[in-house]
């Protein structure tokens, strides 16, 4: 099954929630909607599901126009941030409920419930009630209910946001496996870049109701089309610096590097936190900064830096206890620098991305 959005848009009371969007989700693909709160992720999902009617544009399934079809007739399943289960039913009955509504034969129901429970690792809890389960298990139960009916389109709206960090990590590692076993189109909304990377598949970056880029996840991450996509897809946030380009060389103060065959002018240089280093590496250029704060995670250290008016974040390996307020030289390999035009369009991708 292929899901195609053609010029879909949504406004409510004169305010545009989603601007005209074209998006094609291929059969059995994992698609991540990545963007901050209120970027339009939930609205877009509701349009895909048929819970809302688009203000403009049409929705197609396998080439067939389903824009006017009711959500009940569309074979979609949705999982929300809150763990939504029937509290008075056992886990078994919860999972069986969509099938009973579809009037599936009793032994067929039993077979499919047990199969799905096994996939979601819920078999030992089938006779318990949802509220006796941990948060992670409750969300698994909700997921099982979504998957059991064999929906062609499974929409997950920040399903892990209400879970403990560690549980989130575990379920996140499991979702790709569940997805592969189900064979459905998955659409997964999240605010966290790391989550998008872990899920793989394709990512659509969203910003203020617009899909800024859609493509294979690592490609969107390493070759963002514009500064906004790069910002949305970086945590810690991407660092930016205005630079001037003269006869093919860009420079930040004394640090200069070859910028290829770009036209001279002003550009915005962007680079990620993890690409800053405390040591000189072959080809890297020095940047003079002031250290505001450090944060130690055990394996790595976050550096909060000031460079003139700009605030940067660096992520370096190992534990570094550095005095706050000191002048600190950090090193950056020009191969990791993106150049954007002052309007924000990508002028030159970081050379390393092309190699990766």
């Amino acid at each position: 099954m292929t899901l195609e959005l053609r010029g879909i848009s949504k406004s409510v009371g004169g305010r545009v929630h989603v601007h005209s969007t074209d998006l094609t989700l291929r059969p059995g693909s994992m698609n991540v909607l990545l963007g901050p709160t209120l970027a339009g992720k939930t609205t877009l999902m509701r349009l895909m599901a048929g819970l809302d009617r688009p203000t403009g544009g049409r929705v197609f399934w396998n080439g067939q126009d389903v824009t006017d079809q009711r959500v009940q007739d569309r074979r979609v399943a949705m999982v929300y941030q809150q763990f939504i289960n029937y509290p008075s039913m056992s886990v078994y009955d919860n999972i069986a409920s969509p099938l009973r509504l579809m009037r599936v034969a009793r032994d067929e129901i039993d077979r499919r419930v047990r199969e799905t429970a096994e996939m979601m690792r819920l078999t030992p809890m089938l006779q318990r009630r949802p509220l006796e389960l941990s948060g992670g298990q409750q969300q698994r139960c909700a997921l099982a209910r979504a998957l059991v009916k064999g929906a062609g389109l499974v929409l997950l709206d920040e399903p892990l946001a209400n879970l403990d960090y560690k549980l989130r990590e575990e379920l996140r590692a499991e979702i790709p496996r569940i997805f592969e076993e189900s064979g459905a189109i998955f659409v997964y909304a999240t605010t966290e870049p790391e989550e998008a990377l872990l899920l793989g598949g394709h990512t659509a970056a969203l910003w203020e109701g617009r899909v800024t880029q859609f493509g294979p996840t690592p490609q969107v991450y390493r070759a963002p089309r514009d500064a906004i996509t790069a910002r949305v897809f970086s945590d810690p946030p991407m660092n930016f610096k205005e630079v001037a380009l003269k006869s093919g060389r860009a420079g930040i103060h004394s640090a200069e590097w070859d910028a290829g065959d770009l036209r001279d002018g002003r550009y915005l240089a962007g680079f990620r936190a993890a690409h800053l280093s405390l040591h000189e590496t072959p080809g890297s250029v020095p940047l003079a900064t002031v250290l505001d704060t450090t944060e130690i995670t055990g394996a790595e250290t976050f550096l909060h830096l000031r460079h003139g008016q700009d605030r940067w974040v660096g992520l370096v390996e190992g534990v570094h206890k550095l005095d706050h307020g000191q002048n600190l030289t950090v090193w950056l390999d020009p191969a990791h620098i993106y150049l954007f035009t002052p309007e924000g369009a990508l002028a030159r991708a970081a050379p390393y991305a092309a190699a990766a």
Partner: protein, 288 residues
Amino acid sequence: MDKPLNNRAWFLVLPVLALVAFSAVLPLMTVVNYSVQDTFGGNQFFWAGLEWFEEVIHSDRIRAALGRQILFSAIILAIEIPLGIFVALNMPKKGVWASFCLVLMALPLLIPWNVVGTIWQVFGRVDIGLLGYALSSLGIDYNYVNDPIDAWVTVIVMDVWHWTSLVALLCYAGLQSIPDAYYQAARIDQASRWKVFRYIELPKMQGVLLIAVLLRFMDSFMIYTEPFVVTGGGPGNATTFLSIDLVKMAVGQFDLGPAAAFSLIYFLVILLISFVFYTVMTKEQETP
């Protein structure tokens, strides 16, 4: 997050709208019809224009009833709202006692209105009523049949007994929805009991209080059954509120035209005052 907008949902409301139209709008139109015509029985109607409205507006009798009515509603609101809040604040928050209190509070609300009237009519009698007898034994000269003040006090106490529970239950529901963290923060800030009420409980109860005020205002402004059963509007006209007066006019005297005009004015007054309450109480919320 915005609520999803679904235009088809309006179709589901249609049957209700139709029902309301038949049960409310059509009778209302009949009343409008009567209010601008005169009839002498038979099926003869004469156009009377706004004559009845002028008569009603200038009628001393109706003005007096309106005055009594406003005074009554004002007293009812002034007693029941603070008392209801006070009761709600002092109800246990959880456990067996909470359920017990809820049941106890709900009891007066379950009694039919004319039964409430009858109970108090008997309760207040000096010869056989527990209240009346007790008061007169204590040497208090109490008689709601002869003394207008006593009649008023009886009707008001009866209404307070009957309806304060409603206000209390609404407020209780509002209070229950306040997260514990607020109380804890207030304790840390060393806020006094009064400030906790003023800055946490009252703002969080605003929504339910609006409903409580509107309900109690509309209900008390239209009160009929209980005072009719207890005092019959007397002594004299002391407890003749608008509804009682209206019924006297329409059924007792069969003045259909003036009664219809009266009804319409009555209806508009309620609408107007409710609107004023609503605007004043929600104004706070709108300014961010």
